[in-house]
Amino acid sequence: MSGPSPASAPDAILLRTSINGDAVSVAVEPHHTLLEVLRYQLDLIGSKQGCDKGDCGACTVQIDGKPALACLTLAVHAEGRAVTTVEGLGDAHGGCHPLQDAFDRHDAAQCGFCTPGILMSADSLLRRNPRPVSRDEVREALAGNLCRCTGYTKILDAVVDASEVMHGHGSDDAKKEVAQ
């Protein structure tokens, strides 16, 4: 899907939800997915469409803090819930989440198309585990997110690094940059 039907369609439903902390009211078609509404009606383009059928994870967002595939979620499901997309990931961290910083330092994003979804899944993992995470934990948590560029290695490096930074044992790279 690359664009919505006109929102004036007769069967449109008024969706009231919260997206990245903002109250949003928008008329949506009942058969449109959250991904379609985010991308093509609200212009929140960070959530990506790689397959439109729940296989790749590039559309991963958080609904009430839990990771969800926006391409398999009807938009109306977000009624009264809090949706977080990658655009809102850094909000509580001065605009740049430690994961985003670690991905940047490790060159963990090549084309970057899967990255928003991976960041949303990884953030959920880090919030579930208020301690540094292991590579195996990251592998498990991100098994639903496909990346075709990296071979996953640098992503594992970055997520583990970010979890260490968040809990005070940052990597040497991160410390060096902070010191500067």
Binding site: M1, S2, G3, P4, S5, P6, R39, D43, L44, I45, G46, S47, K48, Q49, G50, C51, D52, K53, G54, D55, C56, A58, T85, V86, E87, L89, G90, C96, Q100, F103, D104, R105, H106, D107, A109, Q110, C111, G112, F113, C114, T115, P116, V138, R139, E140, L142, A143, N145, L146, C147, R148, C149, T150, G151, Y152, T153, K154, I155, L156, D173
Partner: protein, 794 residues
Amino acid sequence: MSEHDEPMPTHETGGHVGGVHRKVDAMERMRGVTRYTDDLKLPRMLHAKIKRSPHPHAKILSIDASAALAMPGVHAVITGRDLPTPYGIIPWTPDETALCVEKALYVGDGIACVAADDEDTAIEALEKIDVKYEVLEPLYDPEQALERRDNQINPYSRKGNLSKKVLLEFGDIDGTLEQSDLVVEGDYFFEGTTHAAIEPHCAVAHVEPSGVLTVWSATQVSHYLHRELAKVLDMPANRIRVIQPPLGGAFGGKSEPFDLEFCVAKLALMTGRPVKLLYTREEVFYSHRGRHPMKMKYRTGFTKDGKITAVDAFTILDGGAYSSFGLVTTYYSGQLLCAPYGFDAYRFHSRRAYTNKPACGPKRGHGSVQPRFAIECQIDKAAEQLGLDPIDMRLHNDIGPNAQTVNEFRVGSNGFSECLRRVRASSSWDAKRKELPYGRGLGVAGSTYISGTNYPIYPNDMPQAAVQITLDRSGRARVFSGANDIGQGSNTMLAVIAGNELGLPLEHIRVLSADTDLCPVDLGAYSSRITLMVGNACLEAAQKLRRQVTTAVGKRWDVPRKRVTLADGQAIDREDPERNVPLAEAFQWAEADEGLLSATGSYNTPKDRHGDYRGGTIGASPAYSFTAHVAEVDVDRSTGIVDVKTIWVAHDCGRALSRKIVEGQMEGSAYMGFAEAIMEQHIVDPGHNGVHPGPSLLDYRLPTFLDTPDLEALIVESPDAQGPYGAKEAGEGPLHPSIPAIANAIYDAVGVRMDSLPFTPPRVLAAIEARAAREKAGELEPHKPTLGGAQETA
């Protein structure tokens, strides 16, 4: 003033080369604000969809679109007759049209395209287009297709179902094989695979009031798309602008024009409104242009001490419905095999057939991943029979630096032996291989790849790469390059080189790339050409500007120009570092002296790197990369499941301009080869009318985080005189050895030769059981009897 009067700058100039960098464009991708093609939205934009053939081979009798056109919200419908000019990425083989004109040649071939107010309406309209077909007999098997002169698939073919044939012979192949101590014969089959970039293809077109057509496309070859659009639309190229927005992966899958780009362009011209078309994932699979299935018959001669004497290769390529890059693929299937090992006699005979399948084309390691699988397994079999260590044997055959291959390519720098030594040490090969029990094994393989092709796709004498850099009063550099950053980091590579020469931090460099209105022509992201070619062009432009800036500063300070260095955002007096000035001010001085600060650099290949026989230029490159892998596997004897534990990847990239980006290319390559070895299969099912059995990212199995082995990237640097700061390619070469290294590791683990890809559990299990039966019958000794043996499998 000559730009060559200074010595090649050392990498301490600006301190960037060889470092670790934050990419110039990664953070906005991670914040979700980068606009990829499908993220573009223009006022009054229409949405297009393509109606596709349900038949693998059919004559189109009629197309009636009247009911679709009558629907509210439908603005236009086009068919093949609206865009009838045949085109092809290779100018000698124009054998496809934007949409089918007379015939559909595979399930999924484009028939008609609708532009409507929204995608739902467009999809509904497709159903109302009435197409009458005469169904023709499909041909799926390439050898059968070659025999069937009565059933020509592609109407533009000049030789029936033979798309291309190459026969080249060097040295006395039959005599040399006869005199060899050992001749290994092998039959190999490489199943096709596809790219599966996570971003589906997408294009948007818009006609400016001036009449200029702009096409935004998720392409990796803007220049060739520009040319083909001009040809098929019958418009002057100077009225067309092609922009490649940030791209979500490509791997060769976006390296030629596709139906969607022509369709959105035509529909935008017809309707006067912007038009977007986004492929579904299913359409991406059917559009394909992925790795060719190859059936390979090899005879390889050896001396008893393990020296390769001769290689005789006979290959059938399954090309699918169209030529794509097939002419080149057919050459590459043989031409890229003559390093890293030296030998004196070589013959290859390759034929590419048309079949009623999605067309094959270039995938990462174009045309040479398949023969590399065959030759590296041949060498492993020889090592086994000769009682030699497979790494020693490869070291023994290394062609070395400054060599000429049997097919007359000139190799410059060569770090292959160092690659082998690195993987040997890191994998603890010598100790571990002796001790691993039955079911566990180590395998090795080597390879080489090109750093760009010596000649462009259409013959011309103009530069193969060009870069323009301008400096402005704010202390900023803008780098204009036609090169396509497809995620491999080429924009960052350009910033690293420009920053290194000009002393600028990367954040003060704007790289503006892949826009045909703004940037000099570049040929695109294919054949691993960008670092060497575009890097050299960028280096030349940056050096010209550095000279202008240091001259202006030297004049102000009354010191010779060479006393001035540019680093850390400043111009500095080398002999009195306390004397320095911010670059913004230095640029202003230079602009006052010279006028607007702008310089171009360009690159063309040396023409003395190959023989002068017909085809001798294809596969020739200014510089060759080298790779060695060791793979460790754990094979489950009861299920046939191959668990690849670790792949050690040593790659000679000449010089790593940006270390983590190079490692990322090596890791991504090794992953992709691993995936092809164990999981991936791009096939259509003849039993179901030629449909793809699973055109989704679930059914076409891509490795997840849990499937992928540990990947240990070991950078080897053997600087090449042809490359910028010595750099060669890193994006494709490191894929090649994954597959044979895993095959050879499986043999080490359980004593079975996997000569057909992929190594799926049923195939591996069948091979283990066949071996067990032979062991039971006394025909074979148990594999690794002293290390836990295979006796239990019987």
